[in-house]
Amino acid sequence: MGVDERGLIVERIEALFASHPPADTDERSFWGAQFDHGLAWVQFPEGLGGSGVSPRWQAVVDQRINDAGGSTRNRINNVLGIGMGAGTIIAHGTDEHRARFLRPMFTMEEIWCQLFSEPGAGSDLAALSTSAVREDDHWIVNGQKVWTTLGHLAKWGLLVTRTDPDQPKHAGMTYFIVDMEADGVDVRPLYQITGEAEFNEVYFTDVVIGDELRVGEVGQGWGVAMTTLMNERVAIGGTVQPRESGAIGEAVQVWRERHGEDGDPVARDQLLQLWAAAEAMRLTTVRAKEAATSGTPGPEGSTAKLQWAELNKRITSFTVDLLGPEGLTYPGGYSFTRPDGSADVDGAPHKRFLRARANSIEGGTSEIMKNILGERVLGLPGEPRVDKDVPWREVPRS
């Protein structure tokens, strides 16, 4: 740790608040000033929104801003840029990328999306087939991406392409920043089983990307994409919820409203089983957070995603059962609209039940998470990889 990181950060927070009182400054101006004071990503270098200190000071900064009536909602509303793209640009981008993209990303003048998954490349992301072909100083992109959050609002996209189909799958990829307003980019809503479209499909037809927007070397796209995904884990992990909140809180509420003390004892025991599992899981996140800051992190930090996904599905299903005949209905009907926030945190139990089905698919399926736990935490051997040393072009695809 450097000389006095806390002192430096506190000094900068005070300077920022003095020139831009959080409660009285419009969001965009405040975020811009926050960037200029090196408090956007404290671990980044000076001049690029950072102060060159340990990333753990960011929590202090954000807490102070929230306490002072300011907003940190940019971290959520532009999560793919601020949470994932920024770290990738710092690690693999050019000086021009860093100077051009980071500040308007943080101020939300420019929204970002991530273009990784494809219809033929989900769990096996490295099988992706969207192609980029070089012509002089630019590249021509063709293909389709899917599950693109914020794609319809984004100015820029983080894109992984196949540039050499004769290499084995991990070797022939290249990473770009793509202008989502460029000719040939077609963003279409992707309707889910809830009837809403949180996500998009993005089609690329002869889209031109200048070579100056390439991130990392040609053929090194997989490594760059891994940097992005590592940042995703950091952005998602480490939150501790209050007891009896989220899905189990809703189940408890429905139980009290409709069943309560006269409720069916079997259903009560099921509710309490779920309550106990949810609380044990919550305590694991508390334990993981404490271990991450003051102890030796162990496996408790890596089990949360899998457990949360599977438990959320069970609890939301149980809650609909508690509704009895009303479980046959779908309040408000299937709207075929784009929700403002995530359907995960609002809506009737019926919608949460449906939305929860995705929990064990998005961000790593439960099957993949079990492989990761089995192989990286328990040290079990991997499955044989039949496509490992085969040119991508020759690997069977569905």
């Binding site: 009896e244 025991d269 106990a276 508390v286 736990l373 079990l380």
Partner: protein, 383 residues
């Protein structure tokens, strides 16, 4: 949201350096002194039903008096340290009467005895020369608290009559802490195991690593000074049983951790179809699920142990049944899955996994099964 659910207290879960040293020391000790061969030797012997040499060694290290005040010969540590010892004992199925003497008996005395009674009893407990067992159940065995012994008073002398069932380590204990009905009241008495009128019969148990006894009392005379008189007996019994519930949960985490480690090692080594069986997702995924459940069980158990150590009684009322219900089910599932993962060898007497299945099943039922504890939770949470 109920008041209970609103704001759990903040306790720390990270081990201090001293606690980590204790954990390593105890793990090494049990690895050497409670190896599987030794566990089997003790469990198949006619008597005494525990390993006296290991017990004395635990006493020499000061591990039998962790929750006993220094004034009474203990080390004045806390349940957090005792929980570390219990987890490691659970990992090895160590054949020592920790649950009966260091937890149930000690807590009953700490909760119910006068200073003079504690001063007379607890130094021997900490030194390992006195081994307590709690006799508090009748033959109906709802396995919680239904004394089958009746106490009647005659001047300065009490007479105990009746049967106490499912007494953990009841045959080998030097002293029994007996819960008895006295009219409408409950009283606790400390009775030497060899007192006239006491007869102790070992039970044919499912889990051979944890002996149980049926103890009959036929006009057993107990002096008034051996009635625990430092506070309400019901509260002392409740304190003992709550600590017992948390102790079992911690022990279950140790057993589950052992099962996961043993199965994972086997899955890496065992070859079928030309591959380590752990490379098959059918096996790998089961082990990953077990890891997830173990970590949650560990969280529930350590939370209960830490709130007990911190004296957070309101939170303990939630944390204890949460831990007992959750850890019981995780342990049984993991121990049973363990038999399956080992395949044929796992079904043999020679292999150790059945010892864990039996311990898992017996601890699930001891001191209230998961459904019982969930019902307690439901009352507290007003569900």
């Amino acid at each position: 949201m109920s008041a209970h659910a609103a704001a759990p207290p903040t306790v720390s879960y990270v081990l201090t350096d001293e606690q980590r040293q204790l954990q390593e020391m105890v793990r090494d000790l049990f690895a050497q002194r409670a190896a599987p061969d030794r566990v089997r030797e003790v469990m198949l012997a006619e008597t005494p039903g525990y390993d006296d040499a290991l017990w004395q060694e635990l006493a020499n290290y000061g591990l039998l008096g962790l929750t006993i005040p220094e004034a009474h010969g203990g080390s004045g540590a806390s349940f957090a340290e005792l929980a570390i010892v219990l987890e490691e004992a659970g990992r090895r199925l160590a054949p020592v009467p920790l649950l009966s003497s260091a937890v149930l008996g000690t807590e009953a005395v700490l909760g119910g005895a006068t200073e003079a009674q504690a001063a007379a009893l607890l130094p021997g407990v900490a030194a390992g020369t006195t081994r307590l067992a709690l006799a508090h159940l009748d033959l109906g065995g709802d396995l919680l608290a239904a004394p089958g012994v009746v106490a009647s008073r005659d001047g300065a002398t009490w007479h105990l009559d009746g049967t106490a069932a499912y007494v953990i380590d009841g045959a080998s204990a030097t002293h029994l802490v007996v819960a008895a009905r006295a009219g409408d009241d409950l009283e606790l008495f400390v009775v030497p195991g060899d007192a006239p009128g006491v007869s102790r019969t070992p039970v044919e148990v499912l889990d051979l690593t944890r002996p149980l006894a049926t103890v009959e009392f036929a006009g057993v005379e107990v002096a008034e000074e051996d009635r625990l008189a430092g506070g309400p007996a019901m509260a002392a019994l409740h304190r003992a049983l709550t600590a017992g519930v948390v102790a079992i949960a911690v022990e279950q985490v140790g057993g589950t951790a052992h099962t996961l480690e043993a199965c994972t090692a086997y899955a890496r080594d065992r070859i079928q179809f030309g591959r380590a069986i752990g490379s098959f997702q059918a096996v790998k995924h089961r082990l990953a699920e077990l890891l997830v459940e173990l970590e949650s069980a560990r969280s529930a158990a350590i939370h209960a142990a830490r709130v007990l150590a911190a004296g957070e009684r309101e939170e303990l009322a939630i944390a204890a049944p949460l831990a007992k219900s959750y850890c019981s089910e995780v342990y049984e599932r993991s121990a049973a899955d363990g038999i399956q993962l080992f395949g044929g060898i796992g079904f043999t007497w020679e292999h150790d996994q059945h010892l864990y299945l039996k311990r898992a099943k017996s601890t699930k039922l001891l001191l209230g099964d998961p459904k019982h504890h969930r019902a307690l939770l439901g009352e507290l949470l007003a569900l």
